[in-house]
Symmetry: C2
Subunit: 336 residues, 2 copies
């Protein structure tokens, strides 16, 4: 990490115990995996990494902003985990292998306990996915975390959003709606037995990006997107990218026992609308159905066929033979 | 750009005219240069770019935060330019060729006029340096801009910060101290004739990253850093990285007529202390002195030899034979 660039702050604040470079050295230097392809890590103007031949580089960035993506007092360890997980999920949805991360952290003050916990959450997940933190910066400011992540995928093999065909099936990994349920528990809006509440909260605070599944789906899935804004919204984006629609069977939706306990017969609504699960929603030709099962098994991850694609745009929800009405609205920063 | 990921905001704000994806489509899709090596740009979970063989990838990120790096009311066009320029400067300091950028923008509201100006400033500079904007995200939040930039450099040829030797010379490009002078003018702390004020303000609001110079210095310079926090501070970092010191002649410092007009005989202090110039400070063996001149000419950029390196750590400032006392302090987010 190069020390941040700044003018003297218009309203200088009192001196703190640690300088920016000390904080970077203490908490971020060497965080994540050690990778042989990192020629130069934190400490110069830029990092230098070596890209193997025959691959494409997948590049993404995503932010967590206080008051928007998390609430004051959210545990720093969870924020460190989530800030990386939301980017890992983008890389997973491309079928790419995550490699190098950059971190931009705006902090109101140098809080050692917070930084230690944040680095713990970020570092543990990064090591698990062989991601090296190679640079970034630390600035004073309203709490906001931006991570950029680069991944590698053999040329031409990435899972794009727009590759679906009308005679294919629609799938989703894991279970959906859990993270939103977890947030509702944390906010006291949902009261559940302790174990169910703990499960849902864990799903919100420590989402698992489906990196192994994304890799296993290369050559199997025809299109893929990660479920960040809710299954209904994100499946809609995938379908729209191909100019198609789908019939989704609400009985088929993968709903966890905890979410079922929370919402009873209406759990399908929560499963379609809830965001932040970071599951993968994808399509595959019917002839690949067995390969999808193999991929899911290889990735150690459940996968459920939730519907079939259709020429006609839009999502038609069915319960058995009945058509179901539903109109969720995905979160939009500049509309909601 | 993938639409941002967010929970419903804890304090939902009234609906705005434009959605996040509309704003991205309107202002950022296709911004910057069109590059043949971009296989997939804005609109999927991640961008896909093609990296030629034999190169290393230089990765950097830097942020501008309201109230820290700029003041309320700073012109959006300048912010768009600066947010990219500070990253271009990091890539320039590595001797790398800038290629692909990601942008994370936190905005308090969807202000079309602001976005248009911001995109204009960012886009014009990006096109000039053949940089494609390949992704990012837009979120509601306190105004903060984070850019990530990837560049390319032939393997093993990057200009590192730590390559200086004790028998080499110390150089800086352009002139230093101007941007800080420009900011002082904008704040009304410095009163100057209109033309001089305009020049300094331009240096602050529209800094020129020395990309061409960085490229021309490959194989010539032994170490390089960009001058973001002030020449004294950044030269100190370059020297510290090699465990060396330097003797700098204050009469040799490149000082613009406008800065001279502002500070008279004390201009050298402003030249050493002022940040945000984004010049390059570098070292080269004496035998390369003529090559430095050739590189500067090729890059269309002035370069000045300001001193000589020394075994003894620290910067010794001289005016002729007299040793000069000086103790600036580089800006530090968590100390100043």
């Amino acid at each position: 990490m190069a020390p941040g660039r700044a003018l003297r702050a218009p309203c200088p604040e009192p001196a703190l115990a640690s300088s920016e470079s000390e904080l970077i050295e203490r908490y971020f230097n060497g965080l994540g995996a050690a990778r042989a392809d990192v020629a130069l890590g934190i400490g110069d103007d830029a990092a230098l990494v070596q890209v193997p031949s025959g691959v494409e580089l997948a590049l993404t960035t995503d932010s967590l902003v206080a008051g928007v993506h998390f609430e004051a007092g959210a545990p720093a360890r969870s924020l460190g985990h989530r800030a990386l997980a939301i980017n890992l999920s983008d890389i997973a949805a491309m079928g790419a292998s995550p490699a190098w991360a950059l971190l931009s952290l705006n902090l109101p003050s140098a809080d050692d306990a917070w930084l230690q916990e944040f680095a713990h959450g970020f570092g543990a997940l990064a090591r698990r996915h062989a991601v090296a933190l190679v640079g970034g910066n630390l600035s004073r400011g309203a709490l906001a975390i931006t991570v950029q992540l680069a991944g590698l995928v053999p040329r031409g093999q990435a899972l794009r959003r727009d590759g679906a065909h009308s005679d294919e099936d629609l799938y989703v990994s894991g279970s959906v709606g859990d993270a939103a349920g977890g947030l509702a528990c944390l906010r006291g809006q949902l009261s559940l037995p302790a174990e169910a509440a703990r499960y849902l909260q864990q799903r919100f605070e420590y989402p698992e990006a489906r990196v192994a599944l994304g890799l296993a789906l290369r050559g199997v899935a025809s299109a893929c997107i990660d479920v960040s804004d809710g299954l209904y919204t994100d499946a809609g984006r995938l379908l729209e990218a191909a100019g198609l629609g789908a019939r989704i069977d609400i009985e088929a939706l993968p709903i966890s026992p905890a979410l079922r306990a929370a919402h009873g017969p209406d759990a399908w609504r929560a499963a379609l609308a809830g965001g932040e699960d970071y599951e993968l929603c994808f399509t595959a030709p019917r002839a690949q159905a067995a390969s999808v099962v193999v991929a899911a098994r290889a990735a150690g991850c459940a996968v459920t066929r939730i519907g079939t694609l259709a020429e006609r745009a839009g999502i038609a929800l069915h319960s058995g033979k009945s058509l179901i009405q539903f109109s969720p609205s995905g979160f939009d920063h500049f509309r909601d």
